[in-house]
Symmetry: C2
Subunit: 343 residues, 2 copies
DNA sequence: GTGAAAGCGCTAACAA
DNA sequence: TTGTTAGCGCTTTCAC
């Protein structure tokens, strides 16, 4: 049982393909009675004309860009998508969003889908794990399909627009050190996340560039969700003697920082007087939280805009353009969860 | 200057279309030297094969559903999209998301794009305003294109899966009345939002079904963003004599409820002892907020799942299925921003 | 290994 | 008002 075509409808209705086509396209030239009849037949057969075939004739004028994010219910990615959307819309493009949920296979499927549906180009937040597969990216290159990665991927020469994660965490640690903090610890992100690794490295590197000494015990595995921050916070601070509390916790992201803040509030540990907290990302709620979260602002909006700008430039180029690599810098937002102890 | 085709590449490279096609598809039957040569030419011409034409042959096996949301950076919609995604993925479908940003024209463009790209069906959070246009929905019906609306639209008979907004707000008001609150006011949503109107009506109706008397002065225009709630909160409570504070504020949504909470905190007005607050939606952060927000839980996840279920059933049906209409109920989550005064 | 030719499902002239 | 026909840009046999 194969899918029915316009031809089947035509035969069933006793008219020609051309007439059926005219009905589908709402042409006024069709007699009302035949139009009704053809519609009846279409309904009876549940016939759905194939979009691909409809558009084959007459060149494409439509403009679309796709973005592959890693998590749907993460404000990090929606903020990013919003930046992309802003630039894209200005240029007359519609943005399609799909989420890989951090699964290689999904990323591959979606990227091929974008290409096969003539979405003009894609911005990809690549899934990166131990045995990373990038064959699908090569397949895109083979098609001269324009795309921009939101993170450097080993083994492929492609457009990249990214954030300097390492520097971001260094910024936080350096600030804490400069304001008189010692005993700084890190609530680290998920094992497999490369962001998490980069931020751990930034943490470590800040020590090696200072007079304070790094130790592995400063790295507390945590996670990326509010609950992770909350539970790790409760566990950690319940076990530790109040006299030996760390002076500051640098968190993998804002969400766990807020979880931690909530945990300390429950344990009646004062922030920032007993413990300072620094987040990372500067999500919308961070500045509204009480106490307002000191955090490293990730320029997501600018990241999205830049990625979109690069992508659309490549989409619209006659010639193949040289590959570009842009790295955006973060900025520390000092708010209420940290104290300057030198004052 | 028209777009180049596989034919142009073939001529330029001095081979046949078939060979170029084989190169594009990575067939092993092509001699390495010719493959390289063809690739060179493709690059030089910046030739991108047309996805639509590539897929015309060989029937579609790919499964995709589209969703048109109204705002990208609104957790309401991402939660919804997550519910849809969950069900869709289970059934082997990829989800494409696009945002209309509450603009009719965009909604229309996106819906036609979905149909023309053979996205198999769509879930639409329709833009509804004073002079609503639904021609594009009729166009979808003409194509027997399966779609589900997330809100009833006057004038079209289509699948609808929706939330009972009116009942949701009534639930909140009724609870407050039952727990001994009088002087209840409503921080209302945006003028043009039909959600806002429904919630205002729910507020009003709750009074007409009680012994308390409604007055227009209970309706305070506010908005939908955190900042709206915060600013309206400051304005309102600064102007009012503390002795005449309302006992409770029912908010259009959680976001403004949190803004209000923040404003009252700043004004040193105690929640819930001086003023109770009830939100609406139950966004993720509501239960983590301090004090945890009492709110009406909107079953977004279930809404998404249900919409996806209906859509996919219609996509996969041989026959055209009868139109369905589902209304999901909300549920009150009593947390820390309200007090039972009868105890 | 490669080329020639027959479609894929539809649209858009043009005839009738 | 409707039917006929020639493509749209690619893939895919099947000869050569």
């Amino acid at each position: 049982m194969k899918k029915s075509t316009i031809q089947d409808v035509a035969e069933q209705a006793g008219v020609s393909k051309g007439t059926v086509s005219a009905v589908i396209n709402g042409k006024a030239t069709v007699k009302a009675s035949t139009r009704e009849h053809v519609r009846e037949v279409m309904k009876a057969m549940n016939f759905r004309p194939k979009g691909q075939a409809r558009n084959l004739k007459g060149r494409q004028i439509e403009r679309t860009v796709g973005i592959i994010i890693r998590e749907l219910d993460n404000p990090f990615y929606t903020a990013l998508a919003t930046g992309i959307k802003k630039y894209a819309n200005e240029k007359g493009y519609v943005e399609f969003i799909a989420s890989s949920e951090a699964d290689q296979q999904n990323e591959e499927t979606i990227s091929q889908l974008f290409a096969s549906k003539d979405v003009k180009g894609a911005i990809i937040a690549p899934v990166i794990n131990e045995n990373i597969e990038i064959e699908h990216l090569f397949r895109l290159k083979l098609l001269n399909y324009p795309f921009v990665l939101l993170k450097e991927v080993q083994g492929i020469h492609a457009n990249v627009v990214s954030i300097n994660n390492l520097e971001a965490t260094k910024l936080a640690v350096r600030y804490l050190m400069e304001t008189g903090h010692t005993d700084i610890i890190h609530f680290a992100g998920p094992e497999l996340s490369s962001h998490a690794h980069e931020r751990i490295n930034g943490f470590r590197q800040a020590f090696s560039e200072s007079t304070q000494i790094f130790s592995d015990s400063m790295l507390v595995p945590c996670g990326s969700q509010f609950q992770d921050g909350f539970e790790t916070g409760i566990d950690f601070f319940k076990r530790v003697d109040p006299k030996r509390f760390p002076m500051a916790v640098v968190c993998f992201n804002d969400v766990i920082a807020l979880g931690l803040s909530s945990a300390l509030h429950q344990l009646k540990i004062d922030v920032p007087n007993q413990v300072s907290i620094v987040g990372n990302d500067d999500i919308e709620i961070a500045k509204h939280w009480s106490p307002a979260l000191t955090t490293v602002h990730t320029p997501l909006h600018e990241l999205g805009m830049k990625a979109a700008e690069v992508l659309i430039r490549h989409i619209e180029a006659d010639q193949i353009l040289p590959v570009e690599n842009h790295v955006l810098d973060s900025e520390l937002k000092i708010r209420e969860t940290t104290l300057d102890l030198t004052k």
